[in-house]
């Protein structure tokens, strides 16, 4: 019996090591595709963030991806890379210019490894399992819509379709797109991820509990 158990355990360990090795290999292949496709001309993958001024932020051509694995959900990212519809209503870093779209798409063969690569880029500031997501979070909803101006800049789903402002990234579909623990970390430690940004800093204005509720509410967005 003991021999059987130890054999089983051994097989499990070998299987897990194989899975990890394959993931690493795919991430390495994805990095090659990422670099070969010139993605780095718009997205930087080396953290931490170093922007110190508005000029530094405006010099960036696209969203930073050095914490993509903490920010996004893998299945969403893999699908989006193959059919990259705009997330921001306005062009990146622009107040007045609508987003023209046209982000390059990857093939299915490329999207898998690139997703593995991007999901390997993580930030220690994001703690897994901190935000408890339920079907509804009324306290978070109240803060999002009434107490704070979140809806003034971010589109969000409503019964009629969606509502909200255009200057920030849309949060329609955020439940499938974003990791709720990253949303919380972004609210709690904005300077870690984006030191200079158009969104106000809410540290000291919202409690940790409020921020958790907002992150949990955003996670319900379809």
């Amino acid at each position: 019996m003991k021999t059987l158990a130890s054999t089983f355990l051994g097989l499990m360990l070998v299987a897990m090591a194989t899975v990890v090795a394959i993931a690493r290999a795919d991430a390495a292949a994805g990095k090659e595709v990422f670099q070969g496709s010139d993605c780095q001309s718009c997205h930087y993958t080396q953290g931490p963030a170093t922007e110190k001024s508005i000029d530094d932020q405006l010099a960036k051509k696209g969203p930073e991806l050095w914490y993509a694995g903490s920010k996004f959900q893998g299945p969403w990212l893999q699908a989006w890379l193959q059919d990259p519809q705009p997330i921001r209503p306005m062009k990146f870093n622009s107040v007045m210019e609508p987003n023209p779209g046209g982000h390059p798409a990857l093939s299915a063969d490329q999207a898998g490894p690139v997703t593995d690569y991007l999901m390997s880029l993580t930030s220690d500031a994001v703690k897994a399992g901190t935000v408890k997501v339920k079907k509804k979070n009324l306290k978070g909803r109240l803060i999002f819509i009434k107490k704070m101006p979140c809806s003034g800049c971010h589109q969000f789903p409503t019964k009629k379709k969606f509502s909200g402002g255009l200057s920030g990234p849309s949060l329609v579909g955020a439940g499938q797109r974003l990791n709720p623990d990253w949303v919380l970390a972004y609210l709690q430690q904005p300077k870690v991820f984006k030191p200079v940004k158009m969104m106000p800093v809410f540290v000291g204005l919202l409690s940790d509990k409020d921020m958790k509720n907002v992150a949990a509410h955003v996670a319900t967005f379809k």
Partner: protein, 122 residues
């Protein structure tokens, strides 16, 4: 020699003016980055966030008579603490944790340029 003297004289005369322009440019830059998304690039209250769903009309800073009713302190307080401090909408965010004192002051001065007014004392 006289050419150097003239250049020095010009620098002395233009120095303070040039500094003033730089400060105004900072206020303009801050405004375009943080405020224009709701108040519009020209401060007319018509930024891209003001869709049909937007629950209030962001202030039009070019309305001189309305802006003259506000003191610099009134404007400063709303920038720092948000709309609710002046019984206005929470759609105006509290920027006090985002901007430092110099940046808030540069924005106040920029709004005074937009309204072409000095506001009430206080």
């Amino acid at each position: 020699m006289s050419r150097f003297f003239l250049m020095g004289l010009l620098m002395l005369i233009l120095g303070p003016t040039a500094t003033g322009v730089a400060q105004a440019a900072d206020g303009e830059k801050l405004f375009q980055f943080y405020c224009a998304q709701c108040h519009g690039t020209e401060g007319k209250g018509d930024g891209p966030n003001v869709t049909g769903d937007f629950p209030v009309d962001p202030r039009n800073f070019t309305e001189t008579a309305e802006m003259n009713k506000l003191s610099d302190a009134d404007i400063r307080n709303v920038i720092i603490d948000g709309g609710p401090i002046a019984d206005k909408s929470p759609m105006m965010p509290p920027w006090g944790k985002t901007l430092n004192d110099d940046e808030v002051e540069a924005l106040v001065q920029h709004l005074r340029q937009l309204c072409n007014c000095t506001g009430k004392a206080g």
